[in-house]
């Protein structure tokens, strides 16, 4: 009698285990496959009182997504994309970004900052890559003499952000004297060559940095 119960129990356990394993495979937290790569640069814009007033973004998209996003938009068929032809796309993108907080995380003295709706949204195409520019005003300008931390990233990793090369990635406009921006980059340098293999490993290194809180962070300190 005991043996029978035991055997039955084992069967149930086996079946339950198989079912649980099958379920567990499907229910892990969701991340997106990255399909969009953005090289970002930003300017921190200060007002006359030396307060941080806005962030001016410029995001350059990868060539493949650029081709995808602009298909059918060359209305006059001249093989080029004018600002007018891209205006609709720019508006759509900026509207779509609202829900994601424009992928912009700005902390001032550790507190998250709210933004007002963006202005001056426009797109242009350079060398087969579309670029989206917009000005993101802070809801309330932040007083001078504060430590600011900016990070541009997509937590779900659908969009893979990286900061542009060099010091040009971050600019300070009308900043009070003595303000300094420092950039923390991912360990691997972004791809610079046209070499396929090298590009591959660079992309791999960059992508492995997903989730890293310290990738693409900018710290601005003012006296």
């Amino acid at each position: 009698m005991r043996g029978k119960t035991f055997r039955y129990g084992r069967r149930v356990a086996g079946a339950a285990l198989a079912a649980a394993a099958a379920l567990a495979l499907q229910a892990l937290p969701a991340l997106a496959h990255p399909h969009v790569w953005v090289t970002a640069s930003a300017a921190l814009v200060f007002d006359q009182d030396g307060r941080l007033a806005a962030i001016r973004h410029r995001w350059i998209f990868d060539k493949a997504f650029s081709a995808y996003a602009t298909q059918g938009l060359d209305k006059n068929g001249d093989g080029k994309f004018s600002r007018q032809e891209l205006a609709g796309l720019a508006r759509e993108n900026i509207d779509g970004l609202t829900e994601f907080g424009w992928f912009t995380n700005l902390k001032i003295n550790g507190a998250k900052t709210a933004f007002a709706p963006p202005k001056d949204g426009a797109m242009d195409m350079v060398d087969g890559q579309i670029a989206l520019g917009f000005l993101l005003p802070l809801e309330k300008p932040a007083g001078p003499g504060k430590a600011m931390m900016l990070d541009i990233s997509d937590p779900t990793y659908f969009v893979a952000f990286s900061l542009a090369d060099g010091d040009g990635a971050i600019a300070l406009e009308h900043a009070p004297a003595g303000c300094v921006a420092s950039i923390t980059r991912p360990k691997a340098p972004p791809p610079q060559t046209q070499n396929l293999t090298e590009d591959f490993f660079n992309a791999l290194n960059q992508a492995s940095d997903y989730g890293s809180q310290f990738a693409n962070k900018v710290v601005v300190a003012c006296p």
Binding site: V12, A30, Y68, G96, D199, F200, A203
Partner: protein, 345 residues
């Protein structure tokens, strides 16, 4: 001990309406219980992972489609691999179009991209493995289903991309709209397939040891039970179910393929783009096939654990098959609910 006489008594009145009604009621009850168990299990798992889970991926940019990938540390590595291969793929396409690189290298990275792209949860894999666990299916069957679904996916991607881009000069927004329509159809197919499987498996559990559903307790899908020989009917039903699996799993094109094809059009390397898409599909088929094989092995393991041919063992197996069928149904419903939630916001 007390059950035997009752069984005999009910067996005597097997053909009465009461008996049929109670069997139908039991069948419905089993189906509902299975769906409830699967829902509960998935909800618990979702709860357990909810702290670590970021919000579901959505695509902010007009035109693109977001897809789910695996999470966690392994998921991050898989994502890193596939994004690296994807970058290599687009880079390779560009180099190819400017006459710089060979086609084989491009096909190689496309294949590798397909392998890693498919290594994550997706409704196609859920449908195929659910179907394989719910039915007694061989490795060959699993491989054939995976391959057919992947090829269908590539074919749909190429057909959709070419028609929209070359015939209609469509924008990304229009591509996205067409994909959402196809997506809705495929999710509905998953749910329908789940309903059919659950109904059949609930019938098997409600009527253990009995012949395959007799006409009265039979679902809408076997109105022709009096057609030539049971084997032929089985085969026809099998083929129909498998066609359903392939359609449900493969009709939605993957966004990576659509982006690659649009890029290929812009680079005037359309043929290379199509070849890359099919190489991607072969890679996808490989990964899906491995997951399908795991499902087949899991089923065999469960069969062995429940072996002995005793009544209870058979019942446990029937219950497991019913749960797998319910899993397909719940997956379909969850996908449809997700579409609705996304549409509402």
């Amino acid at each position: 001990m007390t059950e035997a006489p009752i069984d005999r008594a009910t067996a005597a009145s097997e053909l009465t309406g009461d008996r049929l009604w109670s069997r139908l009621a039991r069948r419905i009850l089993f189906a509902v219980i299975a769906v409830a168990i699967v829902c509960g299990g998935l909800a618990l798992l979702a709860l357990a992972f909810s702290q670590a889970a970021p919000p579901p991926p959505r695509n902010p940019f007009a035109g693109g489609m977001a897809e789910t990938a695996a999470g966690g540390r392994i998921g991050a590595v898989v994502i890193a691999m596939q994004s690296a291969f994807y970058r290599a793929l687009t880079q390779g396409l560009q180099t190819f179009s400017s006459g710089g690189a060979g086609l084989w290298g491009l096909l190689g990275v496309s294949f590798a991209y397909g392998v890693f792209h498919a290594a994550g949860p997706g409704h196609g894999k859920a449908v195929i493995s659910g179907y394989l666990v719910a039915n007694e299916r061989t490795l060959a069957r699993g491989a054939a289903l995976s391959f057919a679904a992947a090829m269908l996916q590539a074919t749909v991607a190429v057909a959709l991309a070419l028609t929209l881009a070359l015939v209609f000069n469509a924008t990304a927004a229009m591509v996205k709209l067409s994909v959402s329509v196809v997506e809705l159809v495929s999710f509905a197919l998953v749910a329908l397939l789940g309903v059919a499987l659950t109904w059949r498996k609930a019938g098997a559990l409600a009527n253990p040891g009995g012949p395959q559903p007799a006409d009265a307790s039979c679902g809408t899908d076997c109105g022709h039970a009096h057609m030539p020989g049971p084997e032929a009917v089985d085969r026809a039903r099998d083929l129909r179910a498998m066609a359903g699996v392939v359609l449900a799993a493969g009709v939605r094109p993957c966004s990576g393929a659509l982006i690659v094809l649009a890029f290929a059009v812009s680079q005037r390397a359309l043929a290379a783009g199509i070849a890359a898409t099919f190489a991607m599909a072969v890679g996808t088929a490989l990964t899906t096939g491995v997951i399908a094989a795991l499902a087949v092995f899991a089923k065999r393991l469960a069969l062995r654990l429940a072996s002995g041919g005793s009544m209870s063992g058979a019942r446990v197996m029937a219950a497991l098959e019913l749960l797998a069928a319910a899993f397909v149904l719940v997956t379909g419903l969850a996908l449809l609910a997700g579409v609705q939630a996304a549409g509402a916001s």
